[in-house]
Subunit: 672 residues, 2 copies
Amino acid sequence: MELQPRRALPPAGADPRRPRNLGADSGTGVAFTRDPGTGQQGIYGDYLQNAQGEDVVAGIRNTVPLQDLERIDPASYRQLLGIMETLENHYRDLCDIEFTIERGKLWMLQTRVGKRTAAAAFRIATQFVDQGLISMDEAVTRVTGDQLAQLMFPRFDLSGNPKKITTGVSASPGAAVGQAVFDSARAVEQASAGEDVVLVRRETNPDDLHGMIAARGILTSRGGKTSHAAVVARGMGKTCVCGADELDVNLPARQFTAPGGVTIREGDVISIDGSSGTVYAGEVPVMASPVVEYFEGNLGAGSGELVAAVARIMEHADATRRLGVYANADTGDDCARARRFGAGGVGLVRTEHMFLGERRQLVERLILAEDEEGRQSALDALEPLQRGDFVDILKAMDGLPVTIRLIDPPLHEFLPDLTDISVKVALAGDSASEKDRKLLGAVRRLHEQNPMLGLRGVRLGLVIPGLFAMQVRAIAQAAAELKKAGGDPRPEIMIPLTASVQEMEISREEVVKVLAEVEAETGVSVHTLIGTMIEVPRAAMIAGDIARSAEFFSFGTNDLTQMAWGFSRDDVEGAFFSRYIELGIFGVSPFETIDTEGVGRMVRIASEEGRAARPDLELGVCGEHGGDPESVHFFHEVGLNYVSCSPFRVPVARLEAGRAALLETAGGSDTR
Amino acid sequence: MELQPRRALPPAGADPRRPRNLGADSGTGVAFTRDPGTGQQGIYGDYLQNAQGEDVVAGIRNTVPLQDLERIDPASYRQLLGIMETLENHYRDLCDIEFTIERGKLWMLQTRVGKRTAAAAFRIATQFVDQGLISMDEAVTRVTGDQLAQLMFPRFDLSGNPKKITTGVSASPGAAVGQAVFDSARAVEQASAGEDVVLVRRETNPDDLHGMIAARGILTSRGGKTSHAAVVARGMGKTCVCGADELDVNLPARQFTAPGGVTIREGDVISIDGSSGTVYAGEVPVMASPVVEYFEGNLGAGSGELVAAVARIMEHADATRRLGVYANADTGDDCARARRFGAGGVGLVRTEHMFLGERRQLVERLILAEDEEGRQSALDALEPLQRGDFVDILKAMDGLPVTIRLIDPPLHEFLPDLTDISVKVALAGDSASEKDRKLLGAVRRLHEQNPMLGLRGVRLGLVIPGLFAMQVRAIAQAAAELKKAGGDPRPEIMIPLTASVQEMEISREEVVKVLAEVEAETGVSVHTLIGTMIEVPRAAMIAGDIARSAEFFSFGTNDLTQMAWGFSRDDVEGAFFSRYIELGIFGVSPFETIDTEGVGRMVRIASEEGRAARPDLELGVCGEHGGDPESVHFFHEVGLNYVSCSPFRVPVARLEAGRAALLETAGGSDTR
């Protein structure tokens, strides 16, 4: 963690009470009541003999550790320790103190609650609980989801003393190792060849997007937290250090130099720490986070003070929160991890991947089928495969709700890209294969100008006979099989992209029919809720009507954000978001934190009107906002039943949901 | 016009008063108090001797003209005329009467207000005014915008007695003439060769889309008004006759046969009338509509009873309406026509075309520019060209408001298509030109997954320095030039795609700055409003805030519909709209008539909250809904200041705006 530079003190002499530098029995120092780096109790700080207050802060002269004061001026030292204890008991928190000694007399200049690292925050909070100074409620409000997230990233193992080159701005957390490359084309080329690369640029622009996608991490010498590199990397969840202005990046020479004569050439390995901003030469080994190991069940709650502190705080947050926390998970393995991370259910199973891999051929058969029979035979071949997928998922989540979204993307996503196949067929000329020609025909026919706004979601279900039915049958049979075997499967079926009452009614009718058929065939009845995503703006406007045939709503805030703002994330994040942040149009990307005024207003309208129409309507959110701290507070306030996010974000959401409940009780409006 | 089959009468004998067929001094007939086809006053109807009531309706036996009754049974005839006058005076409208004569005694069976053609509706309404039976107010409510629109289509000149083949469903109005073609590929091929074609299919499906676009008209043998052909043709504004089920369409033989041994082979010319559903063999000459000729000023208001009736009703509608009616017009010529058609201003000048044609090279230079200077020089070259365009437009609309939308579409729309240029460069291999390679690079860089949701509108303006400024400067200089010459230019500058307050504030600031610069340079001050489109859902949600820096809102209901529903018109209309109409999900396409529940609710919220923030906020709509009768009533009710539509729809909107005001006063909720 970087401790922020303190506010400069007024010049000496401006305040008559301020002492002057008066010789060896005088001096000035800073003290922390606990270690702001680790949270360890003890004596931490610096002392500078023969100096004025600001000299310590300015770092102009070399200080000695505060412990040395015991030798230099034992009386003042003992007095200082007493005052530090008094201050800590008064503020009930880590204090950061400035003091001075004037000819043996100790003066306190200033104190404040001190900044601290994420690890220190958790440890200190529980220490204060143990000292009886604060309650567990208060301890939970003293840490944040962002801090927890920081503790969950893998870290570099610095025990081998790696060579630090420089430090830049910590723009997007994580630890990335790879060969330095100096342009996007090279990044893509090397990454396709299986190499890990770190893209190094003076600054990035929209042309660098492909390279950023290909790289493990991004390092720039210019720009701050709102630079293009920082904004785009955060959006991608990719490690980034930016604004490392000590580096001299020489693109034509494909190298950069750092202070101390270090030169890194293209192909040399570097390691960048997006959490601290540090850049190292060579490969630094990466260690798993002990907090993640604890959530994974590989470490017990007693494994060190940090893990113990996190465990206690999480337990209390869980006991306090009103919001449920579910996970978005698409496979049995994902579900099992989500459960280990504390998910109370699965809020979103995407079923797209169940049409991919070797099954793509079946999808091609489905699309190219020339008659009813051909189409149905492709669907029949898909059904048992998907049934197996659902068995894995429902088994992993036995006893917990699993919200399964029927197929959402347009079918052409399962076919080759239009430009690729066009070029292939054109180059092959007369020798192009019959299959490629047919495929090109289908791709052309299904091509859409704006696939996000095309034939997808519920529209597919209503236009392609048997598609939704196949999926529902696979789910119902999986559930029946598990229930017969003594399990407690709890599937919920979710219709995507609903915009009108009739779409929901017609789909619901089909689902009910298939469920009844499977119940008749298997003799097993599985209670299955039927609901919908609310992800197009119109659905929010007519949610009261939709609620009459939906037992739950899940807000798809990714698509809702895209359609409410009228921009597609893929297209715009790299194209103009950093410019927009620069201009103050966004404080933060609306894909990171929910835009409460626009998108949030729609969520609020739909929640209120949906619940008015159906009081027991279950309300959740399954967009990525479900794992964003600030957004979690908003969803708590709106009164949703749960948020659902990626398994890795589940602990963050659990903590923030607890904090939201506590801050609400405390009447606080501060979301951090 | 087709008169709808009447409700069948109950079987004879079920009602004791119903007479039986009793010989030559008995009979049954139908009578109209005026000609329902033309509105002409006189004796219209049919009489059938020796028959029961339903025999006339069923059309089983041949009837005689009602005038013949004067000869057959003069007493009953005179009595009938008297009763007809009584009925017409009572109902104050055209009556449609069923009667029977039982051994010389006249019985009235039933009467109702009769259906009529569009031309009859206008004539009859003014006739009744002249007879003192109804007021002009009532006359206006008795005709509809749809009827007026019908009168404005060109018609076939039937004086040459063309050969009628059959009649189908009148699915989309207009008169189309062309060679019959039997598949889409052929339609595209022939159309590219400059031939007019009519696409003939049993029924259409999404694969026929390209052929439908290429054809002048569409003829199918199956399906009704909600079939794929009908829905898509109406969406395209293309003439269509569907469900002509007497035709036997033989696709493999590339021909169809009709009753009476007619065979039409591919390449034979046919003529289809989408307003009546009639299909003719050969080329039928097309006549301009006299109503359009009147609006164009080529015919005076005294040119025949129909034109006179239309003129009187339009004049009264104009005197009554509260809604202004503006036009969407992009050139001086369009503006002049809009003005002739009664537009009170221009609600939307699209400026995209000002970057096309020969200017495309300048746009390429702008996009490929490698530095600030190159970009600015391309903009500087565009400016005087656009200034000329604006002079034409503002001159044509002198004294009336002209709302100019700054450039909206993404820049890649001005470059070649990605697939085309990729194939071209791939095929050229090493001999591909440097320019094509550069272009391919730019096209790839600017390529968007979802261009509708990409870098366009205000985003372009904020990201590309100087682009909006160039347009504003061109507008301001055009206005200054005209004002200096004694004109009264009234430009209004409209920012497209605004979604946030800050976008509006920043753009406004730039516009204000450029206007002030031009004012300083020219010494001429032109009052220029600055406002925004409301076309993304978020803008509607925060309209109250946006109104603080916008002097007007214009609802872009096309984009608003696309984004609120989450579908792109180009992609979905052909793909699933007919299926949706079939399933009852839509009554009518939401691109034809505004979806009041979803999109309309957003318009309402934005109007209310915008006006609350700025009471004199000018509100209009410039989506195609502005010319749709039902939508006009909605916009009237919401309290907009004006609707803006294509020049051709301006009279329709004027009439419906008058009707909306009158029906509101009358407390009626009927929109027709």
